[in-house]
Amino acid sequence: MDVFIQQLINGLTLGSIYGLIAIGYTMVFGIIGMVNFAHGDVFMVSTFIALICFLLLTTVLGITSIFLALAIVLVVAMFFTSLTNWAIERVAYRPLRGSFRLAPMISAIGMSIFLANFVQVSQGPRNKPVPPMVTDVIVLMDNNGYQVTLAWKQIIIMAVTALLLMGFWYLVQKTSLGRAQRACEQDRKMAALLGINVDHTISLTFVIGAALAAVAGVMYMMYYGVAHFADGFVPGVKAFTAAVLGGIGSLPGAVLGGLLIGLIEVFWSAYFSIEYKDVAAFSILAITLIFMPQGLLGRPEVEKV
């Protein structure tokens, strides 16, 4: 039971991170029908931006309050990651709108390879050990020496995720930007006829997706204490799995899928084998797509001629 609760906590933390990345996939897919293959690498870039900003704040500027530093890092990482994703959309995807259907996907694969190798070349191929930031833990249960703990960083991750998701939900449901975004998702041509700037809306979708990925990047860096240039690929695929599992195009689905994938991964590692945890995640992706392509909360896809 105690192992179960501990894994539940770990799984929800990991799931929050996946959920934040998954929203970027699901939003972009919803609005332009494309799998943004480079999104995982945008997430990885954000961990590096966050790391550099954190080092600047603590070693050069000498900020001692870890929470203040983290808050600044969060804002800075969101800004620069959004800028990066905005530029990527502008350079690699926008010229291809209206091209044949594989073109944006191939461009995105190229962009993903480019980003990973850009970081490798500019920051070096080695693991970057991040100094531990928040180390306090709360002991929830003590059962003959096996302690069930809830780390402060886990609380921070879950709280920040929940807060951001509420803000994000408000943005999509209640503001004019969200309305324009949902309109473009339903019918881009009609939205354009009604005076919505479609290009602008698509750009903003990429910006929002990147901002959420940046939050995930900061959390990932804080939680695992490491940054590495190749760390975008696997979390990216897992987050995409989450988006598919929840029903691609559905925002609550992405979060639900993220939490489920996090839980499945953690429980699989704890109870079966840690070597095959990635195989488990990839298999879920394949199985979901084959048997339940619309996902848990998604609408069934209707093919129009």
Binding site: F48, P95, I109, G110, N117, V237
Partner: protein, 478 residues
């Protein structure tokens, strides 16, 4: 990274404001570049005594931003200048014309060059042993030409984006590696046909088996996923590629895990081993023993395999199944309404492509004599895909040229020693290999989405065959 803002400028603007606008636009681009490159190029995270610290690179950052700013300014004043009239896009471009006009004449020349290459190399370098490097490079390029042609069936002809092609390459390689080193099979044949039979014949027996296995795997993987639409298919094939690699790493009882399988039997001249013994190739043919004979033979084996792939593709395109592949690429819904069983057609393309991947994998194992999961990462899939994309999906000659350019270019990067004198001693040009690959993929997609040679060759025509530019063909959903 240039952003195309210039299009919005009015065409009738006076020349002073053109320069002003161009300058302003370049300045904005420069500022964006500063924001993009600022964190990652301006600072470097370095580990000193186990503690992470920062190093500063303001000069490098200034150089990068400067390149973007001036590049953008020059482009704004020349190519993107509003005074220039955009060229009407119609018909095949120069590249396409080159592909269709020169193609037929160049093909026999290229073939002759490929056959004569080892002799030219050894003649110009003054000996077989001296030309080893060049012939090895030739083998590498031909392997990728073959893989490119194999994937071309799936991506170029049938229009299915397969991101896990390396899985079939791995299946082929491991099939050969496991069968050839298997003791029970060796013992079985030793009792039946002599002690050295299996070591001498393993490659020739396993080559078709490897292709068959890869093809069967293609069917097994393809059957459930081929109902999916394009991008889903890409992701699922990617997942399968990773699953196969992870299984190869973790199933240590069978595959020896990450350590790989070593001492795989070498290729033989149809049962005659390349060694210095009395029954060896050199002794039987009255030549002096030279280890290069085996390398030369490998070169011709991969050349033959690649040509078989190309020939099979050309013939298949003329068969109903090949036409169905191409029809499927252009419009899946139309195909379905014409009564084509899309699942079977897709499956056949997938399995055929996988089979050629398996042949190439078998060849890889016999050439290297060693296989490990490290050789079958996603990077290889991406590289083969990049070759197909750059060459122009569906074009045989384009893929061959792209493979030669990319693999040859990669080798050249390794030899650019003089760049060290410019950038300092720790500069390693081969690190930039994948960076250039990724950039080239994006650039080609933006600039020429159909690849360098992108004509559509009509299979049915009235009176004369006309090449159609790929840009003019619209593809439906699939």
């Amino acid at each position: 990274m240039a952003v195309q803002l210039a299009e919005t400028a009015p065409a009738s603007a006076a020349s002073t404001s053109v320069i002003g606008e161009a300058f302003k636009d370049a300045l904005i681009t420069g500022l964006i570049a500063l924001g993009l490159f600022g964190p990652l190029i301006g600072f470097e995270t370095i580990v000193i005594d186990g503690v992470l610290g920062l190093a500063y690179r303001p000069q490098l950052l200034a150089v990068m931003v400067g390149i973007i700013f001036f590049g953008r300014l020059i482009l704004n004043l020349t190519i993107w200048s509003p005074n220039r009239k955009p060229k009407a896009r119609s018909g095949p471009t120069a590249f396409d014309r080159a592909g269709t006009v020169i193609g037929p004449t160049v093909k026999p020349l290229l073939l002759a060059f490929a056959i004569g290459f080892p002799f030219i190399a050894s003649w110009s370098l003054g000996g077989l042993n001296e030309s080893r490097y060049l012939i090895d490079l030739g083998i590498l390029i031909l392997t990728y030409v073959m893989l490119g042609w194999g994937l071309n069936i799936v991506v170029g002809l049938a229009g299915l984006l397969d991101l896990g092609y390396v899985a079939f390459y791995a299946v082929g390689a491991y099939t050969y590696a496991l069968l050839a080193t298997s003791a029970p099979i060796n013992d079985f044949f030793a009792g039946l046909l002599g002690a050295t039979f299996w070591a001498n014949w393993a490659f020739w027996i396993c080559l078709p088996v490897a292709g068959l296995f890869a093809g069967i795997w293609g069917m097994i993987l393809g059957f459930p996923v081929l109902r999916l639409r394009g991008d889903y298919l890409a992701i699922v094939t990617l997942a399968f590629g990773e699953i196969i690699r992870l299984v190869l790493i973790n199933w240590t009882d069978l595959t020896n895990g990450g350590a790989g399988i070593a001492s795989i039997p070498r290729a033989t001249f149809f049962g005659i081993p390349f060694n210095a013994s009395e029954n060896g190739f050199a002794a039987l043919f009255g030549l002096d023993f030279n280890p290069m004979h085996r390398i030369l033979f490998l070169y011709f084996v991969i050349l033959a395999l690649a040509l078989i792939t190309a020939f099979a593709t050309v013939r298949l395109r003329k068969l109903p199944v090949g036409r169905a592949w191409e029809a499927l690429r252009e419009d899946e819904i139309a195909c379905r309404s014409l009564g084509i069983n899309t699942t079977n057609v897709k499956l056949s393309a997938f399995a055929t492509g996988a089979m050629f991947g398996g042949f190439a994998g078998c060849f890889f194992a016999v050439r290297a004599g060693f296989v490990s999961p490290e050789s079958f990462t996603f990077d290889i899939s991406a590289m083969i895909l990049a070759i197909v994309v750059l060459g122009g999906m569906g074009s045989q000659i384009g893929v061959a040229v792209a493979a030669a350019v990319m693999m040859g270019g990669m080798e050249m990067l390794r030899n650019l020693g003089f760049l060290r004198q410019v950038f300092g001693n720790d500069f390693d040009p081969s690190l930039y290999r994948m960076l250039i690959f990724g950039f080239a993929m994006v650039a080609i997609m933006v600039w020429k989405p159909r690849g360098l040679v992108s004509t559509r060759d009509p299979t049915i025509f009235l009176k004369e065959r006309k090449a159609v530019s790929g840009d003019l063909v619209k593809e439906g959903h699939g």
